[in-house]
């Protein structure tokens, strides 16, 4: 079916197989049907895993030998940091799809993704600051890790603002995609800042060469929390994208009706 998200004049032309496979998911009707079945499962899984993870992390996991109970901030901070970077990688992939294949659903998803990614990054910065004051002795320092994550936060905000700044949504999406791809150079800088330069922020505990420098009684609840927050992140972004698709459809129907009423003389 051809919804309000038409693919433009090029849509009818024969396409190579790869392009056709990608455009299968660009069909808004099929997207709504598939995600409609998925959404209840996704919400239920997110809430169940989060309930388990949060209870395990906040109540049943041990304190750290020198951080004490403050270590529990990490169970929010680390998943939010991973989501901030993983989500931005997702935004970059959507931007490539948008720029090369002119994938309209990728545009809509990117538009709905960036406020959620900005929220995750803000939570990462806020929880990190709350941890830093009692542990380091300062709320904030301008070391390479903290500064590059702040830049990541501004990139999320910039993308959210830029795609909404144009009267023509397609031009907004194009500009946002270019900004997102240029900003992607920051993601490896965030990840490797603690290895390339000496920073106040500690190096990676989980994703490092050799065994994780984290006891399993702390590591497992962290991984469960990460899965829970990731499912929640996906559910929120998908729900926003579904709402955006339906909004466009309503607007197109209203437009069509207005045109019909104009055409029939009263």
């Amino acid at each position: 079916m051809d919804g309000p998200l038409t693919l433009g004049p090029g849509a009818a032309a024969p396409r190579p197989a790869g392009g056709r496979n990608l455009h299968r998911f660009a069909n808004p009707g099929r997207f709504l049907r598939a995600t409609g079945r998925l959404m209840p499962v996704l919400w239920a899984a997110a809430l169940a895993v989060l309930a388990l993870g949060v209870a395990w992390a906040l109540v049943f996991s041990p304190p750290d030998w020198q951080q004490g109970e403050t270590v529990r901030i990490m169970y929010v901070h680390v998943p939010m940091a991973w989501l901030a970077m993983g989500g931005y990688t997702g935004l970059a992939i959507l931007s490539v799809m948008s720029l090369i294949w002119r994938h309209p659903l990728a545009d809509l998803t990117a538009r709905e993704l960036s406020p959620v990614g900005a929220a995750a990054t803000a939570l990462c910065l806020a929880t990190g600051s709350l941890w830093g004051k009692p542990m380091w002795g300062t709320w904030w320092v301008w070391d390479a890790r903290l500064t590059s994550v702040l830049v990541l936060f501004f990139l999320w905000l910039g993308h959210a603002a830029l795609v909404r700044a144009f009267d023509d949504p397609e031009r907004g999406a194009r500009a946002g995609a270019i900004l997102a791809l240029v900003g992607f150079v920051n993601v490896p800088i965030v990840k490797f800042s603690v290895d390339w330069w000496n920073t106040l922020h500690q190096p990676a505990s989980v994703t490092r060469m050799g065994a994780p420098a984290m006891h399993v009684d702390i590591l497992y609840p962290l991984l469960v929390c990460t899965l829970g927050y990731t499912l929640l992140f996906a559910a929120v972004v998908l729900a926003r994208t579904r709402a955006a698709v339906m909004e466009r459809r309503v607007r197109a129907l209203q437009l069509a009706r207005a045109r019909r009423e104009d055409a029939t003389p009263a």
């Binding site: 750290d64 030998w65 720029l99 380091w136 002795g137 390339w196 990676a204 006891h215």
Partner: protein
């Protein structure tokens, strides 16, 4: 070449150019991006006493002395080491909770003519180990680790150790 292929090529080329430019910029500003100098950096570069900089490393075991200054403020002297080199530090003020021998610290201050470092700010640096108290106690009791000597032993030797003698849940 289809339009899509051309757009893909343009994108790849732009990405390559941007990546190279970023890598070159970061390499050029390498010295400005470090948050602190280690005692070996200080020994190699001899930063002058007129500029404040950050000195980072581990607090040497047995080097911490705490006094009360003439004005009633707590003062501390300790040595910061990175293995081959050591710098002694004096600091007037309250030390962070995590400060202890064997802990990483980052101090801000100026070098004195006698080669010591007068700090105006001391931050504790946490390393990447996360360990329940019972496991840390067990490592200390069995002599596998003395926290005031430095970093914990390889993680694989303790990160699945059972938490024995734990109190409560």
């Amino acid at each position: 070449m289809t339009r899509k292929k051309r757009r893909l090529m343009v994108l790849l080329l732009a990405g390559l150019g941007l990546g190279t430019a970023t890598a070159l910029t970061l390499t050029a500003f390498q010295d400005n991006l470090v948050f602190f100098l280690s005692p070996s950096d200080v020994a190699a570069r001899h930063p002058g006493g007129d500029r404040a900089f950050r000195l980072g490393g581990l607090v040497e075991a047995g080097s911490v002395e705490r006094h009360t200054g003439a004005d009633g403020r707590p003062t501390a002297t300790f040595r910061v080491t990175d293995g081959p080199n050591t710098v002694s530090v004096t600091y007037a003020g309250v030390l962070p909770d995590l400060f202890r021998e064997g802990q990483g610290v980052v101090t801000l201050g100026k070098l004195q003519p006698d080669g010591s470092f007068r700090a105006t700010e001391v931050l504790a640096r946490h390393d990447e180990t996360y360990m329940p108290p019972e496991v840390a106690d067990a490592l200390r009791r069995t002599g596998h680790w003395n926290p005031s000597e430095g970093a914990a032993p390889p993680a694989a030797s303790w990160n699945t150790a059972p938490r024995q003698g734990r109190v409560g849940g």
